[in-house]
Symmetry: C2
């Protein structure tokens, strides 16, 4: 039974236990199946199914002021994003998300309607991004700023996990999902220009509610992916991580990134006042440096058929001792492009 | 390899990634086996073993100022307590803890030595309370207050989970572990009396580093426990939860609690200035209302042999429609004892 709360209820007025109960009551309504849930919320633990005797586990934290602002993201957005960022890590191992637990810290003045919208965001993101996955447990605590800590679980269904360390020289480098849209959306929000935010609301929407290609994680594993990672800190930095873990270099092709850059060119032009050099710089910054789209970066043997949704963007080469990052763009070490990989 | 940090390093000076790396490097040294860990920290996910195809999952959050104070607890204490409070929930289902993931939010001014001591506390608590269990993943974020969110996993090894809802009329009610020591320790700290804190440092130690009887969870399940719960909010409130979930009443015996009250009588006398009425009130408050010892409350069939470490404290009766809490002490509803079950 879902009890509709009144507009004036807060965590303080209802207490943490009742607030948590109200919030949890929104999680398992409608089409949510929770097909991996053997014992759901309400006891000391939940019990989830792990049919092949193994469980994928990942955790990700979002802190108010650092990872989100409540004037830019709604409570629904926050719940959605908490699911998206975590199930994307499950996908990046070649797994299917099965369950989440959510720890939420909020000021006691937080309206219950906010918590309910947060729960709605959790539920709808599970339905949209990882059908069958559900929230099996949580914790609600009071604190002076909002913190969301989610732990996600997944099943490999008998497959071997796809690690960061498996890329082989000669492999194809490919990405699934979008690149740079969330970073573009963030810069639009940072600009304070309501007209630009409205004009490119779809990119702002990717920042608020990322749409990671979760099902493509399993598809990549089935297609023989040798390494994979969730793109959360930007292509340049995340590619460097895989290259380092695998002891190889990633040689990316600038022409393969043009399609990604074209999508954000209009917003870049608007933000840079039409200056073409600044526009080109901004689009590259977003596509190479922008995180939070939560696409997948994977390597495949040259003979593999890429799953629909993956696009080739380069090849795996031998690690060159001189390169710091292990990533080049058209043969130029990415650190020498005069571009700041740490600014996002 | 463990790198010893200098006294001046902070999260801000080293950055979140390097700070996390340093912290994680302390987790898997020495005797830690991590026998359930198939893929450890460092990739998008960890992979843990779930031999019987099921996983117990629980999450618990601690917030600075609400759940702990850094002038009362060291970073080591905090790590220890984060493990203790979570593995205790695994035990309360009849399970064995296998792995933890830890999300930590700290101010960027936090010294790395603090994070290292926190990691040491996590590691030592795993070794002491749940051998074989280890930290398989984590996340470090910056924020203006300290938040620790832990998710623990466990295995049932083929057993059925022991739920809160299984208590039967005629069962014996029993507890394992201590009652009221952590609450006594908290009141000693709240008194601001260094002499009293020193005199009863063992009880203050239970507040700082709880020592839940984790192995007795499996023992209780094997002995046929019909219901079980981790005592975290005090005997009166937690017993009411099980009674409600099971549709029964818990009839506790005051004489069975005397042994628990005797252990804290000296501290109660000192805090109440020798007043015998106030002393009796305080000891009862601690034993019935004090949480955070993280003992186990369980019910067993009358014919069961209680595992060593469990003490009988009452019997399960039929639910009486008049009783709010479903818990009586020597036949008197606990709500009529003139005692505030919500003050701790």
């Amino acid at each position: 039974m879902v009890i509709e709360s009144t507009a004036t209820d807060t965590v303080a007025s209802l207490g943490e236990n009742e607030s948590l109960r109200r919030t949890v009551s929104r999680l398992n309504v409608g089409e949510i199946a929770g097909e991996w849930t053997l014992v759901g919320p309400g006891d000391d633990c939940a019990v989830i199914s792990a049919p092949d005797g193994r469980v994928l586990v990942t955790t990700d934290t979002m802190v108010e002021g650092h990872d989100f602002r409540l004037d830019w993201s709604s409570w629904f957005d926050l719940g959605w994003k908490a699911v998206a960022t975590n199930v994307s890590d499950i996908a990046a191992m070649g797994g299917k998300p099965t369950s989440l637990v959510v720890a939420l810290v909020v000021p006691s003045s937080t309206p219950i309607s906010g918590l309910e919208a947060f729960a709605d965001g959790l539920r709808e993101a599970c339905l949209a991004l990882a059908p069958g996955c559900s929230v099996v447990g949580g914790d609600l605590a009071s604190g002076d700023l909002v913190v969301v800590a989610v732990t996600a679980h997944g099943t490999l269904e008998g497959r071997e996990p796809v690690l960061r360390s498996g890329a082989q020289v000669g492999d194809v480098v490919a990405v699934a999902g979008t690149l740079g849209l969330a970073a573009c959306g963030l810069d639009l929000l940072l600009s304070g220009r309501a007209d630009l935010v409205a004009a490119w609301d779809e990119w702002v929407g990717v920042q608020r509610r990322p749409n990671p290609p979760v099902a493509l994680g399993v598809a990549a594993a089935d297609a023989g992916a040798t390494s994979m990672l969730d793109l959360s800190d930007g292509l340049a930095r995340d590619a460097a991580r895989v290259a380092k873990a695998s002891g190889v270099s990633f040689d990316l092709s600038a022409s393969a990134l043009l399609g990604f850059e074209a999508r954000v060119e209009g917003a870049a032009q608007a933000l840079s006042g039409g200056d073409s050099v600044a526009t080109a710089r901004l689009t590259r910054q977003w596509v190479l440096g922008g995180g939070e789209d939560h696409g997948l970066l994977a390597t495949f043997p040259a003979s593999a058929v890429l799953p629909r949704g993956f696009r080739p963007i380069g090849v795996v080469g031998t690690a060159s001792p001189g390169s710091v990052s292990g990533v080049t763009l058209d043969g130029v070490p990415i650190g020498e492009l005069g571009w700041d990989s740490t600014s996002h």
